[in-house]
């Protein structure tokens, strides 16, 4: 089986030090588009889609494998293996933060550091822990998704883009960006939002950066503090950026944060 085809792996950039970008739930690798140009000159960038997202090979989806975040972490490890990567700087958004955490526990020697963008180890409230959501919210999420798939065909049909600010984002995006297989996305949502990886955080032995946004409805400040507290070698930056996707809404600040974190390591020398 061709891992690189399965996960639609794209390698760009002129450097040798690897940065791997992992997208979150509900999207695909295109979400890193505003971030990657800043690193192309000095790094080797690895981008991919999880099976069932973007332009991955949906036929490779296995319900048992992707029935837990472990299966997704195995994708990450298999990509590293297929490309013979070492010393990887892993950037994961949202659920990919935990996927990176799991992968780094399994094979810490593969990773140089983890950059966790809006991480949450558990989205559901538990005794003594505020994840931000109740089970009922997640049931609603499933319903909302179902409802949105009613018009799925039109959803994927090419649309005329009226994007005057960013003319570079044309056609290819219409078809691919955030396109998802219905069945798989439903399962991915369950795995993402019902997972509880709080116990995994103390097992991480790789240095990490937590990027915490202001007013993040999906991963709150409290959740960020919890992650920071449990991750042994972690640094936390509070961003001015609001929302849950700073790499798209505030790319310049996100780039600055990543650069600031990477700088003292003298990675380029």
């Amino acid at each position: 089986m061709d891992v690189l085809k399965r996960n639609n792996v794209n390698v760009i950039g002129k450097g040798t030090q690897v940065i791997m970008f992992a997208h979150g739930f509900g999207c695909d690798q295109v979400m890193w588009r505003f971030i990657t140009p800043a690193f192309e000159a000095d790094f080797r960038l690895v981008l991919f889609d999880y099976v069932g997202c973007g332009n991955s090979d949906t036929a490779q989806y296995n319900e048992d494998r992707y029935g837990s975040l472990q299966g997704y972490a195995q994708d990450v490890l298999e990509i590293c293996d297929a490309l013979n990567l070492e010393n990887v700087i892993f950037v994961g958004h949202s659920v990919s933060s935990m996927i990176g955490v799991i992968a780094s526990i399994q094979q810490p020697e593969l990773f140089r550091s983890l950059i966790l963008v809006c991480p949450s180890p558990c989205y559901i409230n538990k005794p003594g822990y505020t994840g931000g959501f109740e089970e009922k919210d997640l049931k609603e999420l499933m319903e909302v998704m179902e409802n949105n798939y009613v018009g799925w065909a039109s959803f994927l049909a090419p649309v005329v883009m009226k994007n005057t600010e960013r003319p570079e984002l044309t056609q290819e995006l219409e078809k691919s960006f955030c396109s998802m297989d219905k069945e798989i996305t439903g399962n991915f949502a369950k795995v993402t939002f019902f997972s509880d990886n709080r116990e995994d955080l103390p097992k991480v032995n790789v240095p990490s950066l937590i990027l915490q946004c202001t007013k993040d409805d999906i991963a709150s400040d409290k959740v960020g503090d919890f992650v920071h507290d449990k991750l042994r070698k972690s640094v936390m930056y509070h961003m001015k950026a609001t929302g849950h996707c700073p790499h798209m809404s505030h790319p310049a600040e996100t780039i600055k944060c990543i650069q600031q974190f990477l700088q003292p390591e003298d990675i380029l020398t």
Binding site: G24, V30, N62, S68, K136, N147, V159, K162, F177
Partner: protein, 368 residues
């Protein structure tokens, strides 16, 4: 709309963000899916979202959004349509569709499972037969190793000894004496090797009852057995303190890996060995293809600063009679380790560390 949501204009404008008006589920999908789409492609059409009124009543809407930059800052223009009736109708269709899909899926699944079961049964029959054959071979081979091959070697040694006695007594040429010594040495080496091979080969019949062992105590036992002052493993982090298995044999594995690190230590650095353990999840199925069940495994890591092995040879080092350094012993140690771990349904891996040293990882299924 404000009226339906039971808000006053002053409570909302400049006070509440759009996403705060959504139900929890809608908020997640809006923030993780629609908003990224809006940011990347500038517009989203026909998104279904559920808003939540002040008192918690659901208010379903169909929305279109366009991102503009007209006033020098990003502005979202949104148009929404309340769709309670239509939503009810769609919900009805959806429910019927879901029921049909579920039935179809279950039926499909049942047929698939039946076919799979038959296939597995056939496979099982084949494998049982194969296992029986291998077992018989195993028994025969063991007899050859333990007796048929030992005996001639013993005799060669015996006769060589007799001959040596004669050469000494009757003063035959000196070189004969040294040849005979070599012969004796070689046959002794062969006997030793045979004995080890036989022990390796019959290991499954000699496993001890599984008990609980303490990793710290096992490391201590392994270290004191070796009794080499340079071998002082540091327990850096024990996420798991106890393992269940054939404890004497697992202790032997630790001992072998420690002695391995010592044997291949570098001259310029003092030997440093770190041992750690963690509970991780791994796929239980290693032999069955395309089967996944992530279960708990105890991961034990032994890290050293020895010369290590080249990464390209990692699979080979566990091979039978594989020798990587001239000063290696019989080449059985790591193969023996591998077999012990595999008899616990676990696996052992090794990896060269960037910058020198090697790391062995033992994974054992966690038995609570």
């Amino acid at each position: 709309m404000l009226h339906h949501l039971e808000y006053e204009e002053k409570d909302v404008i400049g006070q509440i963000r759009f996403e705060e008006l959504l139900t929890g589920g809608s908020r997640i999908f809006y923030k993780t899916h629609f908003l990224p789409m809006l940011m990347m492609q500038g517009n989203v059409d026909e998104m279904f979202l559920s808003m939540s009124s002040k008192s918690g009543k659901e208010y379903p809407v169909l929305m279109n959004m366009v991102l503009t930059n007209d006033l020098g800052m990003p502005i979202v223009n949104a148009v929404g349509l309340h769709m309670a009736k239509r939503n009810k109708y769609e919900k009805g269709i959806l429910e019927a569709k879901q029921a049909a899909e579920k039935a179809l899926k279950e039926n499909d699944l049942l047929l698939k499972m039946k076919a799979e079961l038959e296939r597995h049964q056939k496979l099982l029959e084949q494998q049982l037969r194969e296992l029986k054959r291998i077992n018989q071979e195993h028994v025969d081979f063991n007899k050859v190793l333990s007796h048929d091959m030992q005996e001639p070697l013993r005799k060669i040694q015996l006769f060589a000894g007799l001959l040596e006695g004669k050469t000494v007594k009757e003063g035959v040429g000196k070189e004969f004496g040294s040849y005979l010594k070599k012969l004796q040495g070689l046959s002794e080496y062969s006997r030793d090797l045979l004995m080890r091979l036989q022990r390796y080969h019959s290991l499954e019949n000699r496993m001890n009852e599984f008990t609980i062992g303490n990793l710290e105590e096992m490391t201590h036992a392994a270290t004191s057995k070796l009794n080499i002052p340079e071998i002082q493993p540091v327990l850096t982090h024990l996420g798991v303190k106890e393992v269940r298995g054939d404890i004497p044999r697992l202790t032997w594995v630790l001992r072998e890996l420690l002695s391995n690190a010592y044997q291949f230590r570098t001259e310029d650095k003092p030997l440093h060995i770190e041992i750690s353990s963690d509970l991780i999840k791994d796929n239980y199925y290693k032999a069955v293809q395309d089967a996944y069940r992530y279960t708990d495994f105890i991961q034990i890591r032994i890290k050293d600063n020895s010369k290590g092995f080249p990464n390209s040879d990692q699979d080979k080092i566990f091979g039978l009679l594989q020798k990587f350094h001239v000063e290696s012993g019989t080449g059985l140690g790591l193969a023996y380790c591998k077999k012990i771990v595999e008899l616990h349904y676990g696996h052992i891996l090794s990896k060269a560390i960037v910058g020198g040293g090697s790391q062995f990882t033992i994974l054992l299924p966690y038995i609570p």
